[in-house]
């Protein structure tokens, strides 16, 4: 693989998979109060 190709592959991985990791961490840290109404679980 050429250096350019390796660089672009790494950049894509860092931005996209890194973005996903950040999004998950952010959601876990700032996640909303989960609503658990009795009726919403009726079909569990």
């Amino acid at each position: 693989m050429s250096t350019d190709a390796i660089m672009m592959m790494v950049v894509a991985m860092i931005v996209i998979w890194g973005g996903l990791a950040l999004a998950i961490v952010s959601l876990v840290r700032h996640g909303a109060v989960e609503e658990r109404t009795e009726n919403l679980t009726r079909d569990l």
């Binding site: 693989m1 050429s2 350019d4 190709a5 390796i6 660089m7 672009m8 592959m9 950049v11 894509a12 991985m13 931005v15 996209i16 998979w17 973005g19 996903l20 999004a23 998950i24 952010s26 959601l27 700032h30 996640g31 909303a32 109060v33 989960e34 609503e35 658990r36 109404t37 009795e38 009726n39 919403l40 679980t41 009726r42 079909d43 569990l44």
Partner: protein, 544 residues
Amino acid sequence: MSATAGRATAQPDQEGRRGGFSSRRVFILAAIGSAVGLGNIWRFPYVAYENGGGAFVVPYLVALLTAGIPFLLLDYAIGHRNRGSAPLSFARLRRGAEGLGWWQVGICFVIAIYYAAVIAWALRYTFFSLDEAWGADPEGFFFGEFLQAGDVEVTADVVPGVLVPLALVWLAVLAIMVLGVQRGIGATSVIFIPVLVLAFAALVVQALFLPGAADGLDALFTPDWSALTSAPVWAAAFGQIFFSLSIGFGIMITYASYVGRREDMVGSGLVVGFSNSGFELLAGIGVFAALGFMAQAGGVAVGEVASGGIGLAFIAFPTIISEAPAGALIGVLFFASLVIAGITSLVSVIEVVISAVRDKLDTSRRAATVAVVVPAALLSLALFSTTSGIYVLDVVDHFVNQYGILVVALVSMLVVAWALRALTGLGEHLNVHGRPRVGTGWRVLTSVVAPVGLALVLVFALRDDLRAPYEDYPSWLLLVFGWLLAAVLPLVGFLLARLPWRAGTHLDGPPPGSDPAAPLDVTATADPTPRDRPGSGHDEGGLR
């Protein structure tokens, strides 16, 4: 006081009957299941390769961040705030906008009937992989022995080898949908999305160890920076993001309506958006590593074997499977991934229709599911299990995507942003529990940048289709299953919008009790419609 108590239970009871995801995790997995479909596996790698290789990362990320995720959040806001299917959510925004929702429902119905056929092919090929049933000529096998495709015409000559798996796919869909939002769609996603990721990751690892894999990755990621000045490349990036994320045609509106009212929809949207792109990147690596092997085995350049869509899945991959060590394993992993990705997307598409029928007619889950899935299955079997199925499928897919999804998404986005001026209210709704907050930037992206991006995609598609007949198909085929079909869907949509809603349906604004800022212990105000009464039979599960 007794009135307050009654009010406190009305809305949850209504939502309970309508159904809902039991948690944020289930919703996110279901939304990922919808977004990650066949296009992630067989469309993205080739689109990236054809449009600048590694340089495509730049317009792709720009499109994701400026149009894809903002539009996804718009869909979430519409469905989550208005707590209804696409037609009901649009009707609650403005009664005259209901037709947009039915237009989206019509598109989903059409997509479902042909999408199931491709899943059926992949299902059959999962088993073909075990003994490499295509022999030395995968292309001849696919079009000849398997599909029995003849001249380009519409026939009623049934192909049993397609009919049986297609019927099985529809039976599976019927079973999933009749179980309801949580036990059907939710449970399917919770089980199959991790399986999909693991199966595809195993496939990628296997592909990376094939000789020639590095050449494939080199072809995919070597940047052609001159592509960044090309408008069609930017249109391809916006098109890929748009088609891949399941936005703009009712799916995300419907799914968001099943999420608890205090949920962080912005954070969830970011996770779904990046998960979808993350899977696409994984698919690109796996597919091009395998194509690199195929090129090396054939002694040709990667560019000569690179393909996308049906050609990649049913011709190139069988060739790879025949030549690679442990080819059967690669085949099973690849086609099983297609089946899983396809099924989780198909159920989301058909749920748009079922949800709309339930909201409009106040039917039980089971009745609405049968009323939608059975006709869809019969149409699907009649059109796509015949010797002409591949041609009709190709034309319908092209035109419904380009002039169905794309146009309805563009029109609904413009209507919501500019005619209804609803973005401020929708943004405020997202911000009640959402982080990061959306503000002026989001409104500019959804009202200007995303529509311009979609318009660009539409203009290039229109230019290509007017310049030459799509794939050189006969004019009558393109007219009937292409242009006419795309034109009829909005007409049907706005006609359906003229049908009256069930008595007592709340249409003016978000329904009572849906305020996400309301404290949990006072959950609702009264909406004393007949469906709120206990024992109305409007239950989510439908089987109890």
